[in-house]
């Protein structure tokens, strides 16, 4: 097994999870406006894994055909964000976003657009919230919908190497009573991961500054 080239401390991972949680929570509000009903979200689980581990986790899905919405981002940190879920779920998502009882023809026609818009809302919610709280600007590209199996999503830049890491976020969201299990993967190059770690350190220092010496009981 390759030694991880970068690791996050428990508190840094906590901070990152909290940022992602804020991001998807904000995104849930926007999604709710789109589908006109409550969007129920699970607590995101965030981990830092290798590309091979990410491919393996995605490969455990019941269906091998996956759909992803991807967006590139650059600024203080550079990389690619993907919202990934089983292709069978995508029709349910389209029905929820389009509303009413669309015909199969309509669904087929609107599928790409609905997927792109949903991905855009969720990924922008995450990336935008992270950028805002870290006081950095990120330029985010337009969403692109891609279909394939798990390995297909990790072929494009940033290039794979023995040391590359993927920020892997598992979320479960429910619309119209149906569960949509999805993943958000953020692929960052090593310099960007180091920058992110530095920004997380600054965030923690900023928040902890006045409270670390307070009289608190920590479980």
């Amino acid at each position: 097994m390759d030694a991880p080239s970068i690791g996050l401390t428990e508190l840094e991972l906590d901070a990152l999870t909290e940022l992602v949680n804020l991001g998807v929570s904000n995104a849930a509000f926007s999604l709710r406006e789109m589908v006109k009903e409550e969007v129920i979200l699970s607590v995101p689980k965030v981990s830092l894994v290798s590309c091979d581990e990410a491919i393996s986790i995605l490969g455990e899905q019941a269906t091998r055909r996956l759909v992803a919405v991807q967006q590139n981002f650059d600024g203080a940190i550079n990389g690619r964000a993907l919202l990934i879920f089983p292709e069978v779920n995508s029709l349910e998502l389209v029905r929820a976003v389009v509303g009413g009882a669309p015909s199969l023809e309509d669904i087929a026609e609107l599928e790409q657009e609905a997927l792109a818009e949903t991905g855009n809302v969720l990924l922008n919610g995450c990336l935008g919230t992270i950028a805002n709280i870290l006081n950095r600007t990120l330029k985010i590209s337009l969403p692109e919908v891609i279909y394939g199996e798990s390995g297909d999503f990790f072929k494009e830049p940033p290039p794979r190497s023995a040391s590359d890491r993927v920020l892997f976020v598992y979320i479960n969201f429910a619309l119209r009573g149906g569960d949509l299990k999805g993943y958000i993967a953020m692929l960052l190059d090593i310099p960007s991961l180091r920058t992110l770690q530095q920004l997380l350190k600054e965030l923690i220092e900023n928040i902890a500054g006045q409270t670390s010496i307070s009289k608190t009981h920590v479980d």
Partner: protein, 127 residues
């Protein structure tokens, strides 16, 4: 008068952020922390806090369900649910559970507003 405040959040950093906002307003108030529903209940029974500030989206029991159970246990405790998920259904459920809803990240202004509103309600009801 010194008050006791329990902060419930699975994220340590989020608890630190809430404590920071609280200490800016009331440096002398006592704070306790819990990272899940079970610890929160144990703390409430042992310490009888005046206020509980809790996260909504937590593993296991969510903040609104916990708020309803804690209010059932002791209706005099003032509870606020804190979340970035401000969908109208979530805000309504928090209020139906007898809790206030405060947006996350928590600001000193929002927290001060919560304390002020609960003080007014207590004065009005004579509690």
């Amino acid at each position: 008068m010194v008050k006791k405040v329990l902060i419930v959040d699975d994220s340590k950093l989020a608890r630190m952020g809430v404590i920071r906002a609280l200490k800016a307003l009331h440096p002398d108030w006592e704070t306790e922390e819990a990272s899940n529903a079970e610890d929160a209940f144990a703390n409430v029974k042992a310490n009888l806090p005046d206020f509980i500030l809790m996260d909504y989206n937590m593993p296991g029991k969510d903040g609104i369900t916990l708020a309803a159970e804690l209010r059932e246990f002791d209706s005099s405790i003032c509870v606020a649910v804190i979340s970035a998920n401000h969908q109208v259904e979530v805000v309504n459920r928090a209020q139906a559970a007898g809790a206030a809803f405060l947006p996350k990240p928590l600001t000193e202004k929002a927290l001060a507003g919560f304390f002020e509103t609960t003080a007014q309600q207590r004065n009005a009801t004579g509690k």
